[in-house]
């Protein structure tokens, strides 16, 4: 007993314990810092104790021996005064005396996260580029976007369906209207519908969401009207199928087998049903063009479709086909962003060899 007390006394607690509200957060967190004792040979770690007016002194956390900082996030309440003490522990479960208590500290939320200034700056730069290119497009400045190979195949695919006297199936993905990829899909659907109307073919558009169905009906109707054939538009060809992902997939597969479309177009957000749809289309011998921004599904479309529009190409395709200057400008602004990123990567890497890391620090987020 005496021996263990002497051993215990030989363990020194950390010194200069300070506690403060963790900066740049939503509150409910307090950061502690301390200086480790000179002799740490017998120390395994530090026990952190906390007390408040309605909380007696209790163990609130643990930090390993070399740590000088701990962030307490367990049941910390905002605007409640807390006080901390810390003590050393040894592998034999001996403990030192407590350190001096920290000053009283409150956790509270901050309005701004100063550590995310770089995110704000980059967003503002992107918005400035976007506004600049939209204005440029409005004043008639020509904005170049290269052709996307999959789009060149659209004419061929629609023409083939016409020659074969078979319909064209267009699946606008399985996500709601708020999704960028669904919006992009609707932008593609309208020119596709126009082309289909020009060729006097039939267009089938099954939908998973009623609102997407309504927007799709509007797009197809406008496409047929622009082609000068509003009477050929059939509202029943753009229909709601099922809100369940796999019931929808089963339904589309059934349609493929029964209607035998010559061309399948999959544009939008797809998930686990992507291969089910593309494989069935492949099995019936349809020419297939797919485009999605869901990267995990792209391998399936690449494997089972004739042409694939990958990731951001979907947005570019949507901008290209719609001809909307605002969309084209957004692609241009994104390209500038990519160039900026590329230059930063190359320059930052070269400068880091000489120990200059300020470019890398622009990309650092907590």
């Amino acid at each position: 007993m005496i021996a263990s007390t002497i051993d215990s006394l030989s363990l020194k607690p950390p010194t200069n314990l300070i506690a403060f509200d963790t900066p740049d957060d939503r509150g409910v967190s307090i950061t502690l810092k301390w200086e480790i004792p000179q002799d740490i040979s017998k120390i395994q770690g530090y026990q952190i104790f906390r007390e408040a007016e309605d909380e007696s002194l209790h163990l609130a956390g643990y930090a390993p021996v070399n740590k000088t900082e701990y962030i307490d996030q367990i049941d910390v309440r905002n605007n409640v005064p807390y006080q901390y003490r810390i003590r050393s522990t040894s592998p034999e479960r001996l403990v030192s005396l407590f350190s001096e208590p920290s000053q009283k500290v409150y956790a509270y939320p901050q309005w701004f996260r100063k550590d995310l200034i770089n995110v704000v700056v980059i967003t503002l730069i992107y918005l400035a580029l976007l506004i600049y290119f939209v204005q440029a497009a409005r004043t008639g400045k020509e904005i170049f976007l290269r052709r996307i190979p999959g789009l060149d195949a659209l004419d061929e695919a629609v023409g083939r369906a016409t020659e074969m006297g078979k319909p064209i199936l267009y699946v606008p993905g399985i996500w709601p209207m708020s999704e960028v990829s669904t919006i992009a899909s609707m932008n593609i659907l309208k020119p596709v519908a126009k082309k289909v109307a020009q060729y006097d073919s039939k267009l089938i558009v099954p939908n998973r969401y009623p609102i997407v169905m309504n927007v799709a009906q509007q797009c197809v109707k406008e496409g047929f009207t622009e082609a000068g054939k509003p009477d050929k538009y059939n509202e029943d060809d753009v229909f709601f199928l099922s809100p369940n992902q796999f019931a929808f997939a089963a339904g589309v597969n059934g349609i493929m087998e029964r209607e035998r479309p010559a061309t399948n177009l999959f544009f939008g957000a797809f998930f686990a049903e992507s291969l089910l749809l593309a494989e069935t289309g492949n099995a019936i011998g349809a020419i297939q063009i797919a485009g999605t921004d869901r990267v995990p599904q792209l391998p399936f479309f690449v494997a089972a479709c004739d042409y694939c529009i990958m990731g951001e190409e979907l947005y570019a395709a949507s901008a290209y086909l719609s001809g909307d200057p605002r969309l084209i400008s957004s692609i241009k602004a994104q390209d500038w962003g990519k160039m900026g990123l590329l230059i930063s990567l190359l320059l930052g890497s070269v400068l880091s060899i000489f120990g200059i890391t300020f470019i890398i620090s622009w990309f650092t987020v907590r």
């Binding site: 976007l145 309504n214 690449v302 990519k338």
Partner: protein, 209 residues
């Protein structure tokens, strides 16, 4: 061998076989299962919507104390969506969509910028600490080359000519290698789903396993 005597196991097994019959060709059995599946899914969704959303989130907070009158505003915005069913009022749908898309963009843009761009770019910089061994040096250079050439592949403002064409060709090779790995990984997961279904048929239904 002990065949299941549960009616539900039989129904599930027969529906599974009906769906699998599609592998041969489209047939009346598949069509029946397909329509049951779609009908059930719609009915199920309506029930879920009613009990998980409309009752606990709209009806009860509005009509039982403490009344949350502030809910009227989002409900009104949401109800504008039904304008789509009217020729005269279909313009109303712009407002809920605008609120939804704007809110979503406000949350997603900073988040995506942090996670998908800044963090990945920061990890891809070639810093001296990545050149500690031959393997780590090769790894760092490979990732860097993959990132740069893939970015060039998705550059739409210039024709793919000269150096840009070559770099985007290298980029597509990197993309295809990544797709190949993802394809294999997912097929593996799908095979495990098939095994699960086979287990159900052979074990739970037929009892021969």
């Amino acid at each position: 061998m002990s065949i299941s005597t549960s009616i539900w196991v039989w129904i599930a097994a027969l529906l599974t076989l009906m769906i699998y019959s599609f592998l041969y060709k489209e047939n009346p059995f598949y069509r029946l299962a397909e329509h049951i599946f779609m009908g059930l899914s719609i009915g199920y969704s309506v029930v879920i919507l009613w009990y998980n959303y409309i009752l606990p989130r709209i009806y009860e907070p509005l009509f039982f104390p403490p009344h949350q009158w502030s809910l009227i505003f989002p409900i009104l915005i949401g109800m504008m969506t039904f304008g789509i069913f009217s020729e005269k009022y279909n313009w109303l749908i712009k407002y809920p969509l605008a609120v939804y898309v704007a809110g979503y963009a406000g949350v997603q843009i900073p988040l995506q910028l942090q996670t998908m761009i800044l963090r990945q770019a920061e990890a891809s910089f070639l810093t001296p600490d990545k050149f500690t061994s031959l393997f780590s040096s090769f790894n760092a250079l490979l990732i860097f080359a993959g990132l740069v050439t893939t970015l060039i592949y998705f550059y739409f403002s210039a024709k793919r000519e000269h150096g840009l064409g070559g770099a985007s060709q290298v980029g597509i090779i990197f993309i295809m290698i990544a797709f190949g790995a993802a394809f294999g990984y997912t097929v593996m997961a799908r095979i495990s789903l098939l095994i699960g279904r086979m287990q159900f048929l052979l074990q739970d239904w037929l009892g021969i396993m």
